[in-house]
Symmetry: C2
Subunit: 326 residues, 2 copies
Amino acid sequence: MNANSGLASWNDRVAKQSIRDFVSRVTTEGGPDFVPISERIAVFDNDGTLWAEQPFYFQGLFVLDRVRVLARQHPEWKDTQPFKAAIESDMKALAATGMAGLAELVVTTHAGMSTEEFERIVADWLDTARHPKFNRPYTDLAYQPMVELLAFLRANDFKTFIVSGGGIEFMRTFSEKVYGVPPEQVVGSSIVTKFEPQGGRPLLVREAKLDFIDDNDGKPVGINKFIGRRPIAAFGNSDGDFQMLEWVTAGTGPRFGLLVHHDDAAREFAYDRTSFVGKLDRGLDEAPKRGWTVVSIENDWNQIFVEHTDRLAVQREPEVSVSVPS
Amino acid sequence: MNANSGLASWNDRVAKQSIRDFVSRVTTEGGPDFVPISERIAVFDNDGTLWAEQPFYFQGLFVLDRVRVLARQHPEWKDTQPFKAAIESDMKALAATGMAGLAELVVTTHAGMSTEEFERIVADWLDTARHPKFNRPYTDLAYQPMVELLAFLRANDFKTFIVSGGGIEFMRTFSEKVYGVPPEQVVGSSIVTKFEPQGGRPLLVREAKLDFIDDNDGKPVGINKFIGRRPIAAFGNSDGDFQMLEWVTAGTGPRFGLLVHHDDAAREFAYDRTSFVGKLDRGLDEAPKRGWTVVSIENDWNQIFVEHTDRLAVQREPEVSVSVPS
């Protein structure tokens, strides 16, 4: 593949052209903007950038579902906050319990088991849970244009990383299958894990203690910690990604920053400056002067979600091409 | 390359054969021990495994040299511990200052600058400092057989990682050039880094605060945090690597653990059960029953150190083959 193929779900507009131009410049040997393969690092936010994040971060919905499962062994929860609010999906009462309430729910559902046990719990949930609006598995709400973009960059010898505020071990259960991003290229928030041999068998046990928050200022810090060099391209959708884009695009040489703007209420969701989840305010203001590309989902994407992976293999129809020369 | 080539600096003995056998088994498609490429993760300790570590960890020698440089602006240090001991290389007085003294030296030399500044300081030191016994740059004291082993594994589609108690940003300055291991595949100990825009320019600043110790129990924890899946092969040399080998070799399917035993006083150093740096005691006792391979440097390696990289290009002689059919 070269810099001009792929990206079939992207309409032929400025955003698609800016991606192609950047990739073409950094891969042109002998050109002024050529970047050696080892430096071709691209980082992607997850929630709202690679998959949907409404009506609430999917990992948050996992927490609520998980509380309901665990509630069977905890009858007292139906009268105790923050569990009562979670069981009843009463988001207003939940918000009233504040950060302490949310933290208690996260810890209750994410700690106290081995890393392998947690992985199984998440995988089971992803297999069975359905999105309230689209009635599809959450992993089916990955964005087809972004999956194509990941593949396009990799075909041009980029190494693609996820850098997300989401839980690192939550994302690692599906990142390879859904995005083609292996676990070792996922950076995220984490809780403390402890090495604890049990009955002669070495185990890693998840503790009820926060380790690292990979959001806002934490994103450049996480990139430096896990990747150890400055990427040349960053993709996000909210102000939680601002510092990541700022850090990446402040480096010398060719740089690329892109923000996905959710403006398609008909096919997905429309939200930005005042949204609780995925607020995009400063980013919209500063993108033009910083040279960042802003994607309009409504105008730039002719397909939003990936096809169901099971269906893909057996009955994929020829792509309907909506004025996309590719 | 296939599983039977490479490893020219390894004598044709059990250790070399065990490596070849393992790689052959996991790469034989259709065989009972075949491992898919994505799961072929190998982890290597650094100090004493990939390069030498005597008379003291090279990063420790960097600290002492750095204190001497900084002492020019701190005349008071020549009468203040732990600096006085560092300036005079008085290891006994230094040890007497305890962990607090050592921590003060590390913080003084490793924090208070941007990540880029620190990288430059380390690179300058590696360019100019010489090892006290061998009078060669420290990066020339990488072990040729281990560099061959890294390349051999990569040629068989392994992804090779460093997992070391050493400082992650210290190692990242040379890991790609010396070992072919890129920064994003280096796991190590770290101090806290903070995102701190200065004069409109985003900077990552190194703080005088410990973040993570990647040694002993910390090694499996670091592997889980940074890599996110269990490697199938682990290489170390000291009891600080014990839990890493334990964790890796306790997984299901084919597993490989290897310890380098420093028993060659003539060509390198001889130390094990009672050494302060690189103590290997429990590992020697348990390796046989755990099925770990123990490498005798004296008997298994026909060459110890890499050739100087500059000389390599211009005047490398044909390899002298010491009864090694390869």
